[in-house]
């Protein structure tokens, strides 16, 4: 969508961002095809771009766009050959909708459900993770292909292709436009949460190739998460995800130093932690825990993040509580990475020697082979125990393993800080 950036166009862009997800969701329920729904929505946008600069933005832009999209749907039905059943179904739904006196109220009733259907469809496991992410940002974030491409540092045609193929897959596999029920729901919800958290992490954690945070993606993920929390308030893991993201986002300003170097949690300047986000994150964790029962992985990770958020200084951190939370997390989904993080917490709670014993036990873990964090942690604990030579070697090993140049510099500096060979 190449438009001049006039005031009106920027305003229309803003309206689009607000209205697009509901519009697409409502249309998808009617035409039962997410790809077609988006095409119709885009047609409505084109009409808006043509008419609104002269007529002004209507008071109820959502209703205007929906009416415009339906007009085009009717046109399409008249021109194309559709299955008899679909034609009748569409014709019936559109006719009855137009005969209804209060179109907006009718749409409003279903809007929440439709949005939920759209979220589940965009995150359907039949699609690759990349496809799910792109489709979610496109349909639910109202992001343009170009915006998505820039956020993920890939070319626009790559994203465009990804979205086209995703819609085709959904159509080919006849993925129904619905909220999953029963036993399927938990797994499908998990998939949705994973997609949202993936988007968040893209913005939060510098991966190889990017060296700083991209707050836009974090913002998008937060927005999507909050929308989902309103749509599915009875799912504790949703609140867990929001809690985790809000609290992690509260640290965005503190995570990266002036030269782009990553700053460890315990070294961060806590006065730059965003207290509005912390408050929201803690509230979300509380909401999730109110349900009782066994806490899921997102809620547990959020609870751990909450422990850090509550500590005014690193010394105030409730490390024993963090250890217990890692115990629960490990019981749910044992993994060497979780075990390593737990070892760090144990070291803080019970002393470096206790932590080191656990870290040593992880030394042979194949999953941690190329992971720079393991030798980095080991080096830290050895340094605390006064075993400087061994500490230096670990930091040097960690520096070799990391792909982040700034991190490498930091680790090399820590190696040097271990001092000369101990002659005693």
């Amino acid at each position: 969508m190449a438009v001049e950036a006039t005031d009106t166009h920027r305003a229309i862009d803003a309206v689009w961002r607000i209205e697009a997800p509901r519009l697409i969701a409502g249309l998808a329920r009617i035409v039962r095809d997410v790809g077609l729904a988006e095409d119709l929505a885009q047609d409505a946008l084109v009409a808006a771009l043509q008419q609104w600069p002269d007529q002004g933005i209507p008071n109820n832009p959502g209703a205007w766009l929906m009416a415009a999209a339906k007009h085009r749907a009717i046109d399409q039905i008249r021109r194309r050959t559709l299955l008899e059943r679909k034609h009748e179904q569409l014709g019936y739904e559109l006719d009855s909708a137009q005969a209804a006196p209060d179109l907006d109220a009718m749409l409003d009733d279903d809007v929440g459900d439709d949005l939920l259907r759209l979220i589940f469809t965009a995150c359907h496991p039949v699609l690759s993770t990349d496809a799910r992410v792109a489709l979610t940002l496109r349909l639910l974030g109202g992001m343009t292909t170009d915006e998505i491409a820039r956020a993920f540092l890939v070319s626009e045609p790559t994203i465009a292709q990804r979205i086209v193929r995703a819609k085709k897959t959904l159509a080919d596999k006849h993925v129904p436009f619905e909220v999953p029920r029963g036993p399927e729901l938990a797994a499908r919800l998990s998939s949705v949460l994973d997609v949202i958290y993936l988007i968040f992490n893209e913005g939060y954690s510098p991966t190889a190739g990017t060296e700083w945070t991209r707050p836009t993606l974090c913002d998008e993920a937060l927005r999507l998460g909050r929308v989902l929390a309103e749509l599915a308030p009875e799912a504790p893991e949703v609140h867990g995800l929001i809690g985790l993201m809000e609290i992690q986002a509260s640290r965005l300003r503190a995570r990266i130093g002036p030269s782009g170097e990553p700053v460890r949690l315990l070294d961060q300047n806590r006065t730059t932690w965003d207290r509005v986000l912390i408050r929201r994150g803690l509230a979300a964790v509380a909401r999730g825990e109110r349900f009782g029962g066994v806490r899921g992985p997102f809620l547990l990770q959020a609870a751990i993040a909450a422990c850090h958020a509550r500590a005014a200084t690193p010394e105030d951190t409730d490390w024993p509580r963090i250890v217990r939370l890692y115990d629960e997390l490990a019981a749910l989904s044992p993994s060497p990475v979780i075990a390593l993080n737990r070892a760090v917490a144990v070291a803080m709670a019970q002393g470096a020697a206790a932590g080191l014993a656990l870290v040593d036990a992880l030394g042979a873990e194949p999953a941690l082979k190329g992971y720079h964090y393991l030798p980095s942690v080991r080096g830290d604990l050895l340094q605390k125990l006064g075993r400087s030579d061994e500490a230096r070697q670990e930091f040097e090993r960690a520096a070799r393993l990391t792909q982040n140049a700034r991190e490498r510099d930091l680790l090399a500096a820590r190696a040097r800080s271990c001092g000369q060979r101990n002659l005693l």
């Binding site: 607000i18 820039r150 998460g225």
Partner: protein, 138 residues
């Protein structure tokens, strides 16, 4: 981006008179929409200025002045904090609020990294390289 939306006081709010039920209901619905859209970050109402105070600074001198303060139009009665992608989006949301006969102000909140932590030469070079890489892939 974050925006603070400032609602001004008026004679009624200064007198502690609550808005009528219809407005309260509509405002409640509007706040609901903001929450459902993931835009709402915070919202607070402020007590009338009769409960407030001002501190005047003059060199080392401090003078306390108790409310109420005149010029209701210039007093803040409440604020929202919204997360929006652009000022235009904040404006579009505010247009949907059930206000009448008043002006409500939108101000962008400073992000910490706008406070003079300069974009270092390394970071700038990094961004240039990445732009070049993306351009190459096109």
């Amino acid at each position: 981006m974050r925006f603070m939306v400032l609602v001004k006081a008026n004679k009624d709010s200064e007198a502690g008179v609550l808005p009528d039920r219809k407005i309260l209901t509509e405002m409640g619905k509007f706040n609901d929409e903001l929450v459902k859209a993931g835009v709402m970050l915070a919202a607070e109402g402020l007590h009338a200025s009769s409960k407030g105070a001002r501190v005047r600074f003059d060199g080392q001198k401090r003078t306390v002045i108790d409310g109420p303060f005149t010029e209701a139009k210039e007093l803040v009665a409440g604020y929202w904090l919204w997360q929006c992608k652009s000022k235009e989006e904040a404006i579009e949301w505010l247009k949907r609020a059930p206000f009448d006969q008043t002006e409500v102000e939108i101000r962008q909140v400073f992000e910490m990294d706008e406070f003079g932590q300069e974009f270092t030469p390394e970071l700038r070079a990094q961004e240039e390289r990445q732009r070049a890489e993306i351009a190459k892939k096109k």
